[in-house]
């Protein structure tokens, strides 16, 4: 087996026993990127020289007590790393590459654990999209079928992990941007509880919804990375103070006696039958493992995506205000005055989806409309959250589809922003409730594209979600399938 195809656990074992060097492992990933990324466009910045220096340093120290020591990874292009160009795949930061003078808490923690950052991955501009098509670097293609999208917004990270360009990757999930591309590319990805991981140093989209999480080749790897990055951070006041449990210890494989909820609202008439069948097959696997399937109802499910498309653009319009060409980013010459400068720097820098969200948010927050839009959406958010709180009184986890279909073809939703928003229908409720949710492979459709199963738990319930996903993964046998590239 090629070194780049290893999981974290497998690579760690070989590094620890000195069967391979960290430099060999890193080179294998770098060579893989050079070989296959032309067809995928997953990696937008290659930090190869620095990665090899770090790899050699780790080899010379020879310490592999940390499970992430010497493990090469890629980060979505919104994670600030000192001295590494980071552009959110937007022309507003690309025209004079923004080079952050500081590290995000997450990449800092990974560095402390010995992981090696080898570059940046493609994303929809400022993470706004479900297909990585709004990136200023162009679309990322799905390793299973390059005519199709890899999903989004963490499409670059998903394609990179699926194509073995790295051992794991970092994504962000505001409205489904880790889970959806993970499902489209046949890997695992977790959106943790809001505030379980620090947002410091990651470019914000919607601050009350943004989360930071890993995308990996299996559930055990998710547990390892989450372990390293989770926990309170004085630089992000919204992180929770709850202690971080040992996530890998939670992977017992035992789900006997657990109650698993199946919410009827996720299985409406007219839904894709293959998607429905894949979740029902998963329910059967859980029954065989000794869990009980419980039919439940989450009555406000249908309102979650409209709710998301109020709260998100409002927060976007506020967060994007900082991109005005003053402290960083795109600049223009011969402005008549400051206001003219702002207008031109922003209009030239931002793409259409970002402009749409800024304008919807500006409108919804303007005098007179705040109560009708933002406050009403915040109240609906409370109702969605109550649905889940009620459900978790009777079940331990809830299972559902991740996406309404398999990865769509490039350009399919080009002229219809609302059709793109509808890709999120199974992904927004968890965002509103701030609960952890992950995607794990649950088979293949007739078109040979991967399918994902969503497993969600109560707030701070990552251990349970990971345990259930790991037990499923080991029984279902879909892990480790690779696309032919």
């Amino acid at each position: 087996m090629s070194l780049h195809a290893l999981t974290i656990t497998e690579a760690h074992e070989k590094l620890r026993k000195k069967e391979i060097s960290c430099e060999e492992l890193t080179r294998s990933c770098l060579e893989r990127i050079e070989k296959v990324d032309g067809a995928l466009n997953a990696v937008v910045y290659r930090n190869f020289d620095r990665a090899l220096l770090e790899a050699k340093k780790i080899d010379s120290e020879g310490k592999f007590s940390s499970p992430l020591a010497g493990i090469p990874y890629l980060a979505k292009d919104v994670y600030c790393e000192e001295g590494v160009p980071t552009t959110a795949c937007s022309n507003v930061l690309r025209s004079k590459d923004y080079v952050p003078p500081f590290d995000s808490t997450t990449t800092k923690r990974l560095k402390a654990a010995g992981a090696i950052s080898i570059g940046k991955t493609n994303t929809d501009e400022f993470t706004m999209g479900a297909s990585t098509e709004t990136s200023c670097y162009g679309v990322t293609r799905n390793p299973w079928d390059t005519k199709r999208v890899a999903g989004g917004s963490s499409g670059g990270s998903a394609a990179a992990v699926a194509a073995d360009e790295c051992i794991f990757a970092l994504g962000t999930d505001t409205g489904g941007s880790i889970r959806q591309p993970a499902a489209f590319c046949g890997l695992t990805g977790i959106r943790p509880t809001y505030g379980r991981t620090s947002r410091y140093g990651v470019m914000s989209m919607a601050s009350s919804l943004d989360t930071i999480g890993p995308m990996c080749k299996n559930v055990e790897d998710l547990a390892i990375v989450l372990q390293a990055i989770a926990g309170a951070d004085p630089l992000d006041g919204t992180t929770g103070k709850k202690p971080v449990p040992d996530y890998t210890k939670a992977l017992t494989g035992n789900v006997k006696g657990m109650k698993i909820g199946l919410p009827k609202e996720y299985f409406a008439d007219g839904m894709n039958e293959e998607i429905r069948a894949s979740v029902m097959n998963a329910a059967d696997v859980f029954k065989k493992l000794g869990a009980t399937i419980v039919d439940i109802s989450l009555p406000h499910t249908a309102y979650a995506t409209p709710c998301y498309y109020v709260l998100c653009p409002c927060e976007v319009s506020s967060n994007m205000a900082r991109y005005d060409g003053i402290r960083y980013g795109h600049t223009v010459k011969n402005a008549e005055n400051l206001v003219d400068y702002y207008h031109r720097a922003r209009s030239e820098g931002f793409g259409n989806e970002v402009k749409r969200r800024i304008m919807i948010g500006t409108y919804a927050l303007s005098a007179g409309y705040y109560d009708a839009y933002y406050r009403q959406a915040q109240k609906v958010r409370t109702l969605i959250s109550r649905d889940f709180a009620e459900a978790y009184k009777t079940v331990d986890v809830i299972i559902a589809p991740v996406t309404p279909g398999t990865a769509f073809t490039v350009g399919a939703h080009e002229s219809d922003p609302v059709a793109m928003y509808l890709e999120d229908i199974f992904l927004s409720p968890q965002v509103m409730a701030g609960i952890p949710a992950l995607s794990v492979p649950c088979g293949f459709a007739k078109n040979s594209m991967p399918l994902g199963l969503q497993i969600m738990g109560p707030q701070w319930g990552e251990e349970t979600v990971l345990r259930v996903a790991d037990a499923y993964e080991k029984s279902a046998g879909f892990a480790g399938k690779k696309p032919a590239l």
Binding site: Y341, H343, R346, Y370, D371, L383
Partner: protein, 149 residues
């Protein structure tokens, strides 16, 4: 002139000010309070929710958002934004009488920290260095806020 303006808004206030004889600072504070009152009156007025925007409305929103629109973009965005507004209009039907607004989903309230400048993570000059504009004496030189530069 100023007193007349206040008088038209609030006679009682105009009366009080003649009694107390304000100095400049007090005047500014009270004046600001009136501006806030004026705005809150606007905030309490809920205009009808619209699901179709005209090109003129889009131009106005773009101006508020500090965006220029190119020829033909008003119509394009009017169509797209109207479709989005129609989609999010579904929320207006939801009965939210029993629900408080959620601003922070895990229940955190008022997180405080010491009011201290931290330079252990990043130096101020390093942050300034990312600016595309000239730096003079630790400050960014921007185009003039008034008129042409």
């Amino acid at each position: 002139m100023q007193m007349e303006e206040f008088g038209s808004m609030n006679d009682e206030y105009a009366h009080n000010t003649t009694v107390f004889c304000m100095n400049n600072t007090e005047f500014i504070i009270l004046h600001s309070a009136f501006i806030i009152l004026k705005y809150s009156a606007v905030l309490h007025y809920t205009p009808p929710i619209m699901t179709a925007l005209t090109a003129d409305q889009v131009r106005h929103i773009a101006k508020l958002a500090r965006l220029n629109l190119k020829e033909g973009e008003e119509e394009k965005f009017a169509k797209e934004l109207s479709a989005i507004l129609t989609y999010i209009d579904a929320l207006q039907k939801v009965n939210t009488k029993s629900a408080e607004a959620t601003a922070q989903i895990t229940g955190l309230e008022s997180i405080f920290r010491e009011d201290r400048i931290r330079t252990d993570n990043v130096q101020p000059d390093a942050l300034l260095a990312t600016s595309p504009l000239p730096i003079i004496d630790h400050q960014i030189q921007t185009p003039s806020a008034h008129g042409s530069t």
